[in-house]
């Protein structure tokens, strides 16, 4: 209670122009939180374009960012994540904190030229990350 009293006494004067939603956003969605990022590559960069005819560009996307302490529903993370956090903070810091990883994927269709000159259309599972989670 004393703390609250103090903070009232010393509450920082919020600049009038700063609107409330912006102010709250920094707590709701901190800058570098765990989220999906794009990475567009063309198969010619990998020198695979002599056998991959389509698609020309492939965006596998990836997950990057910090996992806040209480991840809760926003990441669809299991309760285990919070347990792992507590272990890391309270019991044993050699246990890694939860990391930001893909949780869902979408498939990719590929048109390739095989070694014998035949042409194959194939659909591959789990080739594009579509959602991140902290685990």
């Amino acid at each position: 209670d004393e703390e609250i009293g103090d903070s009232k006494a010393k509450s920082p004067t919020m600049p009038v122009s700063y609107n409330l939603s912006e102010y709250l956003k920094q707590f709701l969605f901190p800058e570098n939180e765990c989220q999906l990022h794009d990475f567009k590559l063309s198969f010619s960069q990998l020198k695979w374009d002599n056998w991959i005819v389509a698609p020309h560009r492939y965006n596998p996307r990836y997950c990057k960012g910090d996992c806040p302490r209480l991840v809760g529903h926003r990441y669809g993370s299991p309760v285990h994540t919070m347990v792992q956090n507590i272990i890391y903070e309270k019991l044993d810091s050699s246990i890694p904190r939860p990391s930001c990883v893909p949780a869902k994927y979408s498939p990719l269709s590929v048109l390739t030229i095989e070694l014998d000159g035949s042409i194959a259309y194939k659909e591959y599972e789990d080739m594009i990350a579509t959602k991140c989670t902290c685990q």
Binding site: L46, V53, S109, I113, I119, A120, K122, E125, I128
Partner: protein, 292 residues
């Protein structure tokens, strides 16, 4: 499960920054040592990974057909279109590795073509099950007919000569007569050979020898058909096979068990199912062409 990247084996692995442990495909090829890569993929890796492994180039017509199929099945980003309700997740196009043709020409009915074709289907893996197969004739220019000529196709499939001393009896052959119509303004003629090929592929036959000839009722009034016959006579058909790849890294639209239970399809219903699908696809194409 291994993804495209594993299967491909980065051709630039020489430049890859990995110094510590050798890449999976750089280890000895015996099965015990390959960490986590199932043997068939390792085979693919070494094939693809061998520098300068010769790669035969398909002909432009086949490539054009498969690019159209790709556009029909996937978005620009390469994501399979969800409105496709077909079971197959793999389509392979083979061109004959050997062909002999005896163009003959009847007076009354134009014998369009008789050919001896040999297809090598080694690229079909053990996990891929054949669902549908067509012989694909491509015509240089879309030919329009006054009426749709009726054609008859006579196919003989000879099982490969058996070299081992334990084979019994002479190689079997299957004879099929197929009726079909030459569609107007079509650049491709498809002859469904599913019932003919399914038993052979299912019993792991990978060298398919097909002798075929088809005749179309000649139409005196319409000389353009001669042009069609001349053009088609010159080109050997490709073999298109629609497969369901059951391996872990392939995309399965739905859980096949759930699907089978819900849509118990008997074999002939399945053909009907595919026939309607093809019809639908053709309608889509016509509609999209008209719209364009």
């Amino acid at each position: 499960s291994p993804t495209l990247e594993d299967e491909a084996g980065t051709l630039t692995s020489g430049e890859a920054s990995v110094e510590a442990e050798p890449l999976p495909w750089e280890q000895p090829l015996d099965r015990e040592n390959s960490p986590g890569l199932p043997p068939p993929l390792l085979k693919v890796l070494t094939n693809r990974h061998l520098p300068g492994a010769p790669r035969l180039q398909p002909d432009s017509r086949s490539l054009r057909y498969m690019k159209r199929l790709y556009k029909a099945y996937a978005t620009k980003e390469g994501i399979p279109k969800s409105d496709r309700s077909h079971l197959y997740n793999t389509v392979r196009l083979f061109t004959p590795c050997a062909q002999h043709q005896q163009p003959s020409w009847g007076q009354v009915t134009g014998v369009l073509q008789s050919m001896d074709l040999l297809f090598n289907l080694d690229r079909i893996t053990d996990h891929e099950y054949l669902l549908k197969s067509v012989l694909l004739y491509s015509l240089k220019n879309p030919v329009s007919f006054s009426s749709t000529p009726k054609c008859m196709c006579h196919l003989v499939v000879k099982e490969p000569e058996c070299s081992s001393p334990f084979c019994f009896g002479s190689p079997r052959s299957f004879t099929f007569n197929l009726q079909f119509e030459l569609r107007k303004n079509h650049k491709w003629i498809e002859i469904d050979v599913t019932t003919l090929l399914q038993p052979l592929v299912a019993s792991n036959k990978r060298n398919i020898h097909i002798a075929l000839n088809f005749t179309c009722l000649k139409n005196q009034q319409n000389p353009v058909q001669d042009e069609l016959f001349d053009m088609a006579r010159l080109m050997a058909p490709s073999l298109l096979v629609y497969l369901n790849d059951t391996s872990a890294q392939a995309y399965h639209r739905w859980n096949s068990l759930r699907y089978k239970r819900r849509h118990q399809l008997s074999p002939d219903q399945r053909d009907l199912f595919f026939y309607h699908k093809e019809e639908e696809l053709t309608q889509d194409r016509k509609f999209s062409r008209r719209r364009r």
